[in-house]
């Protein structure tokens, strides 16, 4: 069952095809890895699907709805959420606030200016639950700007998760994090995602992470999809290994 289908998606930046006639699909309840060297178009593809950019050509269908021209707000309501490559949080608010704010937004309560936020205990309870899911409950009352890089990455995912999306895009969730911390982060993220039946598309450079955690791998190169298959199929795909040599070297 296809959750997301893009048809002949194109994005130009000046004279370069950042995304070149891409037909990309994500199925329900799957964890997909999006790989490719820098400049392959992975982040641009995610930016197009999440609504940061508008495509020059092509269509994006999400759950049978055409979201190609929908605003960011509309896409979030439809069920697409994302985290960012360079961690993007509300640094002057606590970890708990970051998540609670997202829940208020999701519930349509965020426009309320004459009620104390603290009085809505349902939201704060859920925020605590989500932090617990991601192992961050101990840091609930610390400023988001003051926790460790690994924790910030997890918080970034938690905030996106708090939107209760059907499709979660994670842009390099383990980048900048020490090797030791990568597995726990990915364990947490994938267990949350799988247990709730959400589909996740993860942009990753670390091939260990890619091969250990994904159901399916999509490889991009120069704006186009190079290969699409299970980890085994990709491992045996010579085009992929030759094109992405350097990044497919497993340690």
């Amino acid at each position: 069952m296809s959750l997301l289908v893009t048809t002949e998606l194109v994005k130009w930046f000046g004279e370069t095809h950042a995304v070149d006639h891409v037909n990309f699909t994500v199925k329900e309840s799957e964890v997909l890895a999006l790989i490719g060297s820098n400049g392959a178009g992975k982040t641009t593809l995610v930016n197009l699907i999440s609504g940061l950019f508008r495509p020059d050509e092509g269509q994006i269908i999400f759950r049978d709805q055409d979201v190609t021209h929908q605003s960011v707000h509309g896409r979030i309501k439809a069920g697409i959420a994302r985290s960012f490559q360079l961690v993007n949080l509300f640094d002057q608010l606590t970890a708990l606030d970051n998540v609670a704010l997202t829940i208020f937004s999701r519930e349509g309560k965020i426009a309320n200016l004459v009620a104390l936020a603290a009085s809505d205990s349902a939201v704060w309870d859920e925020a605590h639950e989500i932090l617990k899911l991601f192992g961050l409950d101990a840091k609930a009352r610390l400023l988001a700007g003051g926790v460790s890089q690994g924790e910030r990455k997890l918080l970034d995912v938690a905030v996106a998760y708090a939107l209760k999306p059907k499709l979660l895009f994670l842009d390099e969730p383990t980048s900048g994090v020490s090797t030791r911390e990568k597995a726990p982060i990915m364990d947490t993220v994938t267990s949350v995602v799988r247990s709730t039946g959400i589909s996740a598309a993860i942009i990753e450079h670390d091939m260990d992470v890619v091969f250990n955690y994904s159901d399916r791998i999509v490889a991009m190169h120069q704006g186009a999809i190079l290969a699409d298959g299970t980890p085994d199929e990709i491992r045996r795909n010579e085009t992929v290994t030759t094109t992405l040599i350097g990044t497919t070297e497993t340690r």
Binding site: L93, S105, R106, L116, L142
Partner: protein, 333 residues
């Protein structure tokens, strides 16, 4: 973005805030009974400015938008009152407040539509420029606004005519009017407290901290900024309306950029990253101005130098520095 590493955010619960605010309100209420009429009137000016600064800081501290044109809304409030006196012969303070609110809503709604699409630099200069346009209009349409002579405003009647200004004006201003200002001040503080601690207030801070991410958690930027602009302008307009009976007169000066500079200054002085900062800053500034203006003609120079010094070395202002010192004294860091 300056960030306090691993700092515990002081979550000031509303209960704790009340424990601090109520005694202060009581003390303020005792002022006319204990101090001279002159002191009460001076403090009334301070409280009025505090309402204005509180409104201003909704934009700066909570939404991250620095306005250099808030004198415009103060002036709109003041002139709304003066024009109601001139053309409608109104004398009721309640009607004045309503008129000021309506006028502020109209002007801030209009200015806000243009201003909130921009941030920082353009926003700052745009707000400055728009307030200068209003200021120049106040001069040019002198047959309406009284030009440089301004418009006089007599003592209003309070509480629907129950309390009038007949008799000793000083006694009226230092007692009845002072309490009127104090009550309005308390209401405004309570209202602003709720607003900044509401889900809306959280959204504003999110927009301030990270506009892109705010969008990606489903918060639409412009409408929220616009509402913040509106609320901010109305609070300041209300301050203008309260100010004009105290001053007895309103002139175009009140819309000049130099007054906007004072609003900015008092907020930074008190500390714009805290709720109480603008209030403390406004009251302190009011005293400073009263005593310092007598000493020097170079008021802008003094303000400018202190502002630069504050921004360089004490960016959290009085309240921020005081809380840091208190935390250190109490053994936390």
């Amino acid at each position: 973005m300056s960030v306090t590493a691993a700092a515990l955010r002081p979550t000031v619960s509303s209960a704790r805030a009340l424990r601090v605010a109520v005694p202060i309100a009581v003390l303020l209420a005792l002022v006319p009974l204990v101090l001279s009429p002159y002191s009460s009137i001076l403090l009334a000016y301070g409280l009025v400015m505090a309402i204005g600064a509180l409104g201003f800081n909704l934009l700066l501290g909570y939404t991250g938008l620095l306005s250099f044109g808030h004198s415009a809304y103060f002036g709109v409030g003041a002139y709304a009152v003066a024009l109601m006196v001139k053309y409608l012969n109104v004398a009721s303070m309640e009607l004045f407040l309503v008129g000021a609110i309506v006028a502020s809503v109209l002007i801030t709604a209009l200015f806000g539509v243009v201003c909130v699409r921009y941030t920082t630099i353009f926003f700052g200069i745009l707000t400055l420029a728009l307030s200068q346009v209003l200021w120049s209009l106040a001069f040019k349409f002198f047959w309406v606004t009284g030009g440089t002579d301004g418009l006089r405003v007599p003592t209003p009647s309070l509480f629907g005519g129950l309390v009038t200004g007949a008799g000793d004006k000083i006694a009226f201003m230092s007692h009845a009017y002072y309490y009127y200002v104090l009550i309005t001040f308390c209401v405004c503080v309570a209202l602003m407290w709720v607003i900044v601690n509401s889900p809306f207030g959280m959204a504003l801070q999110a927009i301030r901290d990270n506009e892109t991410r705010a969008q990606f958690v489903g918060v639409r930027i412009w409408p929220y900024r616009w509402v913040a602009f509106l609320v901010s302008g109305v609070f300041t307009g209300l301050a203008g309306a309260l100010w004009v009976p105290l001053n007895g007169l309103t002139t175009p000066d009140i819309m000049h950029w130099t007054f906007s500079g004072e609003i900015v200054f008092m907020t930074v002085l008190g500390g714009f990253r805290s709720f109480a900062g603008p209030i403390v800053g406004a009251v302190v500034f009011n005293y400073l101005k009263t005593y310092a203006v007598g000493y020097t003609v170079y008021w802008q120079l003094l303000l400018g130098v202190v502002l630069v010094a504050l921004v360089l070395s004490l960016p959290t202002g009085i309240v921020g520095t005081a809380s840091r010192l208190m935390a250190r004294l109490q053994g936390r860091h």
